[in-house]
Subunit: 408 residues, 2 copies
Amino acid sequence: MSTRPEACLTGMKVLDLTQFEAGPSCTEALAWMGADVVKVENPKAGDPGRTAGGKPGQDAYYFLQYNANKRSLAVDLKSPRGVDLIKQMARHADVFCENFAPGAIERLGLGPDVIRAINPGIIYCQTKGFGAGSPFEKSLAFDMIAQAAGGLMSITGEEDGPPCKPGATIGDTGTGMLMAITVLAAYVRKLRTGEGEHLQLAMQDSILHYIRNSFTYMERTGKPAPRAGSKTVGGGNPPIGVYPCKGGGPNDYVYIYTSRANPEHWNRLLKVMGREDLIGDPNYATPEARTERREEVDAIVAAWTRQHDKHEAMHLVASATIPAGAVMDTMELANDKSFEERGIRQTMQHPVVGPYTMSGWPVRFSGRTPPISTAPLLGQHSEEALADWLGLDREELGKLRRDAVIGG
Amino acid sequence: MSTRPEACLTGMKVLDLTQFEAGPSCTEALAWMGADVVKVENPKAGDPGRTAGGKPGQDAYYFLQYNANKRSLAVDLKSPRGVDLIKQMARHADVFCENFAPGAIERLGLGPDVIRAINPGIIYCQTKGFGAGSPFEKSLAFDMIAQAAGGLMSITGEEDGPPCKPGATIGDTGTGMLMAITVLAAYVRKLRTGEGEHLQLAMQDSILHYIRNSFTYMERTGKPAPRAGSKTVGGGNPPIGVYPCKGGGPNDYVYIYTSRANPEHWNRLLKVMGREDLIGDPNYATPEARTERREEVDAIVAAWTRQHDKHEAMHLVASATIPAGAVMDTMELANDKSFEERGIRQTMQHPVVGPYTMSGWPVRFSGRTPPISTAPLLGQHSEEALADWLGLDREELGKLRRDAVIGG
């Protein structure tokens, strides 16, 4: 019995015309599950993500992270023979993905009508900033635009401060994940019935899926959900939020959450802090009382957290079965070897970049995460992919290369 | 040819022992794609999400949002006959999902070893706060704990402020989406080979997947990624971020993004702002120059945005092919009828709650999003689900109910 995660989607062929992050994060997820993802790139420079912040002459770490386990086919889509090659590939593909600017794929002659006519069983996927039928459907979008227009920035930031952008790329990777789920569901149907599908997803619309809790607040109060700093939308009942720890650095904080649903959290916390004297004190005994005296409660907790470093504070609070988490920064996470031991982060050897470590698919299959392989060099698999999918022979491939229809 | 999204996963049976959000968001996605999701709940109160912020006597909006399109089977898991019923259901299930506190499912006698021995072809899924093998694997976690310990809060907030919690529930729904992808991939393999799987996912580990861009910053600079307010991690080149608009309310801002990769964005923006006089001015001509004079650049842009409301500003900037987005609040999104016209938000009629509107699955299948049906009442489908999956007859069901093994 195989427990190789990469074997799950064996046989699934994905023709991947995506770039940057929203599209590539989707097809990368499929690649990690074992799909054969052939990334189609312009032979001159490839996915613009390849140069997003990287050193000259090598692929950027940005690109490496979103294109692991894929193959690269460099084809000139300005040449009719290049476009024809992609149409031939599309005949053999189960899935076609693109996230170009609105209208671009149609201008290339590879729009949904064209490709679905060639292969009615294909699952044709389009990711854009704004939805078809939205007043902004022709507008450009990047992750931060979707986060603004999708409501997420309005609920992120300090209570009295301006809207803030979450550090996570929910507009990009968040969107990619919703598309990946949908592609797989459509693929299950295709395996059963042979049907294709036309899937469309907008980044703005995806954000709504990730901020449903804030709609809960609105439904309850009739008001737009506000910003709440480190607290939950609506504020929650104290203690809740980040508390300062020893060290005083920008991330020397511990998050402590006492649940309204579990009144024991507060009493347990008082014990951890050596403040048994306050157990049962009516000034603090109920969530309502603590909310009324929020500043006092926060001061009591902070007086204790300041005496401990964040790891110690997390350990002490979490060990007493109260939800707690040290605020970890990216360097601390990268240096924490337990992520590598558990296969969440893995180290690869890239032929140009050398060794590098990245986060992979975090789900374990019988204890093991999918292995990561390095992102492809531009056009690294041009011949191989065309030979595999179309059965082109050495002579035909040589001619395509000499005529600069393919590159790499 | 069917274009009904809900038909994609026809025949897939999910036994759903999840609660709150991380688990339910996963199984709800499967339900929206057409899986038969039977939610197993305690007959006394059900999923604690049912009372999370709701009015007395009715299911909370929180619950409604994460449990659409499911059936509810209320079974007493403290009774051996109740546990046995779940084991019988597990024989017929393709997928088993749980996200109880660490160790709880094993104590119920429904752990992975037990269920996989009964049904080796089952896909058994566990979602926890921290990963098996992590020093915190036995600790409780909620969304905000994962956001703290997974690095996301360290990169969210004002540059000189404390760590901030994004308003999106990446720790919960973000995790649920990664599990949904993995379940579907494993299901594709199961359809082909009959193999089952044991899937495990930690909320802390999931966060790492959504903050990969911040690791790009770290890789480039050797420093932990900082907070950057409304700008991108690392700051980006100005203009970037939210700019204040007419009105002066908490969300009267427009996000403007000029890309380093496209120098024309700045020149186009100058034209939109009627500042053609600055085109080519060496003080602002390059991203480097603008970064050096960030305050001046921001002041120039804000002087213009303050003259327009955010919608107008977005329209003017986006129409000039520069990425822009008004900062929308949740009320504005809810009141924008284009989301309902496009099927992104839908209105339902609940037998107790009455009419309510919520966000559904935002992906369109040939132009149409999956229809939402109301979340089930507690135990609404107890008899129906047992009859469907196990073929129990009216007499057997009546006895189970009389003996309080099932409820609803």
